[in-house]
Amino acid sequence: MPAFHAVVTVELKESILDPAGEATQGVLKHMGFSVDGVRIGRHIRLTLEAETAEEAGQVAGRMAEELLANPVMETFRVEVLA
């Protein structure tokens, strides 16, 4: 079976405070950058074998649902790399 790379991006829901993002934004402003928002998420790159890119994406999505993201506070999206 061919191998695929899939990237799962996990982000906090917009309604959720992100103390790490706020702290980072504060420091960026302190450094003189103009920035109106920082939200810190997670980039998870998976290497997996599957019959098709579509199947790889489905499996990666299940991994995200069952472990990589917590639906109470996070959203995720999956991208299969060519």
Partner: protein, 234 residues
């Protein structure tokens, strides 16, 4: 009766918890996270620590360990009483055995301090703890901000699941006594036979160490286990 203290890679309050239970006259056994069977236990504690280095999200990896599937079965089939402490609370929410989730502290600091709590709901698993009772215990966590989605808080209180709240020394609730940014100052949650709190009762077992309110909480729990599972298994 035999109470299991479930230990994961990175748990570090397991020995203190075993000692606390032993002080209370209970036989405590350490349960390895690879265990598949818990049906011989009268109850289980998930102790504090940093299971799996808090990687991914605190409690997330431990929640998928084999022992947690056994724990879920025991809760669903036998109403096994379970108490989560600190990281144990995080693991139980990640496992879906308690509602909500614990997030990094609002102020971004690890908070290690004494904290007064108030009992917000009674439970058959903690006879002797009455609404309004004050308990003083240590807290020590970086990710203790309890969060529950908008609109779900009222149901949590109505169902008696909002169990413990952070207060000032007089037992008064206000924002300034919230050490981590938890919604509604929540420090502990319960659901059925499962309860958990961020503070450490096992570190408040003797007056000469600052407080024996942890002794009070754990002995109430043991009384509750004896009454709930009674003759059958204890």
């Amino acid at each position: 009766m035999q109470i299991g203290v479930v230990t994961f890679p990175g748990s570090n309050c397991d020995v203190d918890t075993v000692k606390a239970l032993t002080d209370l006259g209970v036989q405590a056994v350490v349960i390895d996270y690879r265990n598949h069977r818990l049906d011989y236990l009268s109850a289980a504690i998930i102790p504090g620590g940093f299971s799996y280095g808090d990687y991914l999200r605190s409690g997330a990896l431990a929640a998928r360990a084999p022992v947690m599937a056994a724990l879920r079965d025991a809760v669903e089939e036998q109403k096994l009483p379970v108490l989560g402490i600190c990281n144990g609370f995080q693991i139980l929410t990640e496992a879906g055995l308690l509602p909500g989730v614990l997030r990094p502290n609002r102020h971004g600091e690890f908070r290690c301090d004494w904290q007064t709590l108030r009992v917000a709901a009674e439970s058959p698993y903690f006879p002797g703890l009455r609404v309004g009772d004050r308990l003083r215990m240590p807290i020590a966590h970086g990710e203790g901000a309890y969060y529950t989605p908008p609109g779900s808080l009222q149901a949590l209180f109505q169902a008696g699941q909002a169990w413990l709240q952070y207060t000032d020394d007089q037992g008064q609730l206000h924002a300034l006594t919230n050490p981590n940014g938890s919604v509604a100052n929540l420090a502990g949650i319960q659901q059925g036979s499962v309860a958990a709190l961020m503070p450490h009762p096992e570190r408040a077992m003797h007056r000469y160490l600052g407080s024996d309110d942890g002794h009070k909480l754990l002995s109430a729990w043991i009384d509750g286990i004896r009454q709930e599972v009674g003759h059958a298994r204890v």
